[in-house]
C-alpha cells in the first residue's frame, strides 16, 4: 500500500485514510492494463514467427525468436505505402481547404456585422447535428454527378466546410484585441492582409487544435471512402486494412494482420505519444466534430 499512499499524498488530510478512493484507483489500474492488452497482443504477435503455430498465437509472452517476417509480409501483400500516401493526401487536402474556409468564415462571425448573421450562424450550427456520416447516400450520388466518383477529391469534398472549425476560429479571433487591427487599418492594410498578418499568426494554438481533430478523424474515416473509392490503388489506409484483414483472415495469417494493423496505427500513436498534452486538450475541445 505504500506506493498507493505516495500517490494520495496531495489528497486532503482527512481523506487520506479512506479506502474507497484507493480501491477505485486500483480498479482503474487493472482496467488500464486490460485496455492495453489488444495493443500488447498486436506487438507480440507482429514479432512472433509463423513457426510457433496457430495455438501459440494468443500467447502474450513475447516469442524468444522475434522476427520481422510479418511486417515484411504485410508490407508486400498489403500495398501499405500506397494506402499511407492516399490517406496522407486526403487528410492534408481536407485540412488545407478547411484552414481557408474556417479562417474566412470564422473572421466574418467574429469581427463583421452583416444582415442575417444569426440565421447564417444557425445554418452552420446545423452541420454539427447532421453528422456527414449519415448523409452518405445523397452525398454519394452528388459526388457521382460531379464526376468525382472513385477520386480522392470526392472523398475529401464533403468535409471542406467545417462548422466546428468555424466556431473554433471565431472564438480565437474574438479574443484578439481590436487595437492591433486598428493599427494595421491605419497603415492601409486590406481585409485579407489583416486576416493573414494579424489574426492568423495570433491563432496558431487554435489551428493546431483543429488540425489534430481534423486529421485524426479523417485518418480514421472508413464508410465514406469505402463507398466513394473503387480502384484498389486509391484506397485509404482504413479501407486497405479492411480488405487486407479479410484476405489474411481466410489464411489465418494473424501475425500479418497484427503487423498490418500496427503499420496503420503507428503514425497516430507515435504523434500522440510525442504531443500528448496537445492531443488531450484538443479532444476536450472537440465535443462534437
Amino acid at each position: 500500500m505504500t506506493l498507493i499512499d505516495r500517490l494520495f499524498r496531495d489528497a486532503p488530510l482527512a481523506t487520506r485514510r479512506e479506502i474507497t478512493p484507493k480501491l477505485g484507483f486500483m480498479l482503474t489500474i487493472l482496467l488500464a492494463i486490460v485496455w492495453l492488452i489488444p495493443f500488447l497482443w498486436m506487438g507480440v504477435a507482429t514479432l512472433r514467427p509463423a513457426s510457433d503455430g496457430i495455438n501459440a498465437m494468443a500467447e502474450l509472452m513475447p516469442s524468444l525468436q522475434p522476427t520481422l517476417d510479418n511486417i515484411r509480409d504485410a508490407w508486400e501483400i498489403g500495398d501499405f505505402p500506397r494506402y499511407t500516401l492516399n490517406t496522407t493526401f486526403i487528410c492534408t487536402g481536407i485540412l488545407l481547404v478547411q484552414f481557408v474556409t474556417i479562417t474566412l468564415a470564422g473572421f466574418a462571425f467574429a469581427r463583421l456585422e452583416f444582415a442575417g448573421k444569426t440565421l447564417i450562424f444557425y445554418l452552420f450550427l446545423m452541420q454539427l447535428m447532421l453528422v456527414p456520416v449519415l448523409l452518405i447516400v445523397p452525398n454519394l450520388s452528388l459526388v457521382a454527378q460531379l464526376g468525382l466518383y472513385d477520386t480522392l477529391t470526392g472523398v475529401m469534398m464533403p468535409f471542406f466546410a467545417s462548422a466546428f472549425g468555424t466556431f473554433l476560429m471565431r472564438q480565437a479571433f474574438e479574443a484578439i484585441p481590436t487595437e492591433l487591427e486598428d493599427a494595421a487599418l491605419i497603415d492601409g492594410a486590406s481585409l485579407l492582409q489583416r486576416i493573414r498578418h494579424i489574426y492568423v499568426p495570433l491563432s496558431m494554438p487554435s489551428f493546431s487544435t483543429f488540425a489534430i481533430i481534423s486529421v485524426t478523424s479523417h485518418w480514421n474515416d472508413f464508410l465514406w471512402p469505402l463507398m466513394v473509392i473503387n480502384s484498389p490503388d486509391k484506397r485509404p489506409l482504413t479501407v486497405g486494412l479492411s480488405v487486407f484483414t479479410a484476405t489474411a483472415e481466410g489464411t489465418q495469417a494473424w501475425g500479418t494482420i497484427a503487423a498490418g494493423t500496427l503499420m496503420v496505427i503507428a503514425p497516430l500513436l507515435i504523434t500522440f505519444l510525442i504531443f500528448q498534452k496537445r492531443f488531450i486538450s484538443s479532444f476536450v475541445t472537440s465535443g462534437i466534430k
Binding site: P12, F39, M57, F107, L112, K117, Q127, L191, T245, I280
Partner: protein, 316 residues
C-alpha cells in the same frame, strides 16, 4: 397648377420612403458584402453536402426504380412504408437501441470511474490516462482487426485465457445471441477514454472548499460523490450522453469488418442497413427513406443537444 400640386405631392411622399428603403437595403447589403464573400466558400460546401444532401434525401425517398437501370418513378411514401415493413430495418432499429443503451451506460460509467480515480495529476495518473485514451485514437477498422483475433473461437485471445474457464466455449461473433454484445465491448473499449476527458474537465469545476467542508462534516466518499460531485457534473453528463448517442448511430465500421450485420442480422445497425440498401442492393429509394427516418429520430436529439450546448456556453 394649384390642382396638380396636391396630386403630385402624395406620389412624391410615397415614393421617397420606398426609394429610401431600397437604398437602405442595398447599402446594408453592400456593407454586408465582405462578410458574405468570406462566408461564401463555406456556404457553398455546406449547401452542397449538408442542406442539399438533406433535400436530396427528401426527394430520393419519394422515388423508386423497378430495376437498377430502369427510370425513376414517383412512389410517394411507398419507400417509407417498405422500410418500416422490412424486418431487417426494424431489427436494425431494435439492435441499435440495445447497442446505444448497452454502450452508453457502461462507457460513461467507466469514464466517470477513470476520471474520479485519475483526477489528481501525477506521473502515474498521466500514464494511465494515456493508456485509457489510446483506443480513441486508432481507427475503428484497426480496432476491429485486433478484436477479430481476440474473439476468434478456440485459439483467440479470449478463449485462450478465459474461455477455458467456461463449461462451453462460446462462439463470440458467430452466435446471434452474443455477437451484438461482442460488438458493444469494442465500442466501450474504444469510447470510454474519450468520455473520460470530459469528466476530467468537468471535475475541475468541483469547488475544492466545498469538498473540504463536506468531509469536515463527516461525509464519506460516496456521500461526496452523490451530493457534491454528481450534481456538479450534470452538464457534463448531458453532453456526454448526447455524444454517446450520436456515436451509437454513426459508428458502424466494426460491424462492417467483423460481422457484416450477421449472424442472421443480429448485429445489423441502422447506418449499416442504409449502406447495404444503397451499395449492395442499389436501392437508393429505400436507403434514402431509412436515412430520412434516422434523421427525423435524431432531430429530437438535436433539440436536446442544442439545450446542452446552451448550458455549456452559459457555464463557460
Amino acid at each position: 397648377m394649384s390642382l396638380a400640386e396636391p396630386a403630385a405631392l402624395p406620389v412624391a411622399t410615397s415614393a421617397a420612403p420606398r426609394l429610401h428603403l431600397l437604398k437602405r437595403l442595398s447599402s446594408r447589403f453592400r456593407a454586408s458584402l465582405p462578410a458574405y464573400l468570406l462566408l461564401l466558400p463555406s456556404l457553398v460546401f455546406l449547401a452542397l453536402f449538408t442542406y442539399g444532401a438533406m433535400g436530396r434525401v427528401l426527394i430520393d425517398a419519394l422515388y423508386q426504380r423497378a430495376t437498377p437501370k430502369a427510370p425513376v418513378r414517383f412512389v410517394g411514401l411507398d419507400n417509407i412504408s417498405a422500410v418500416l415493413a422490412d424486418p431487417a430495418f426494424t431489427g436494425a432499429v431494435v439492435n441499435n437501441l440495445i447497442y446505444a443503451v448497452g454502450t452508453a451506460i457502461p462507457s460513461i460509467g467507466l469514464a466517470l470511474l477513470f476520471a474520479l480515480a485519475l483526477s489528481r495529476t501525477n506521473a502515474v495518473s498521466s500514464a494511465l490516462r494515456a493508456a485509457l485514451f489510446l483506443p480513441v485514437l486508432i481507427p475503428m477498422v484497426a480496432a476491429s482487426a485486433l478484436f477479430l483475433f481476440i474473439f476468434l473461437p478456440n485459439v483467440g485471445l479470449l478463449d485462450y485465457y478465459i474461455g477455458r474457464l467456461l463449461p462451453v466455449v462460446p462462439n463470440w461473433l458467430g452466435d446471434p445471441d452474443i455477437a451484438l454484445t461482442a460488438i458493444m465491448v469494442i465500442t466501450i473499449w474504444k469510447n470510454a477514454g474519450y468520455y473520460m476527458l470530459f469528466f476530467l474537465a468537468g471535475l475541475q469545476a468541483v469547488p475544492e472548499d466545498v469538498m473540504e467542508a463536506a468531509h469536515l462534516d463527516g461525509a464519506g466518499p460516496f456521500m461526496r460523490l452523490r451530493y457534491i460531485i454528481l450534481p456538479e457534473l450534470k452538464p457534463t453528463f448531458l453532453f456526454v450522453i448526447v455524444i454517446a448517442t450520436l456515436n451509437a448511430v454513426t459508428q458502424v465500421d466494426h460491424v462492417f469488418v467483423m460481422t457484416k450485420g450477421g449472424p442472421s442480422n443480429s448485429t445489423n445497425l441502422v447506418l449499416f442497413y442504409i449502406y447495404q440498401q444503397a451499395v449492395e442492393h442499389y436501392d437508393i429509394g429505400k436507403a434514402s427513406a431509412a436515412t430520412l427516418l434516422t434523421l427525423a429520430a435524431l432531430m429530437g436529439l438535436t433539440a436536446l443537444s442544442f439545450r446542452t450546448m446552451a448550458n455549456r456556453e452559459g457555464r463557460a
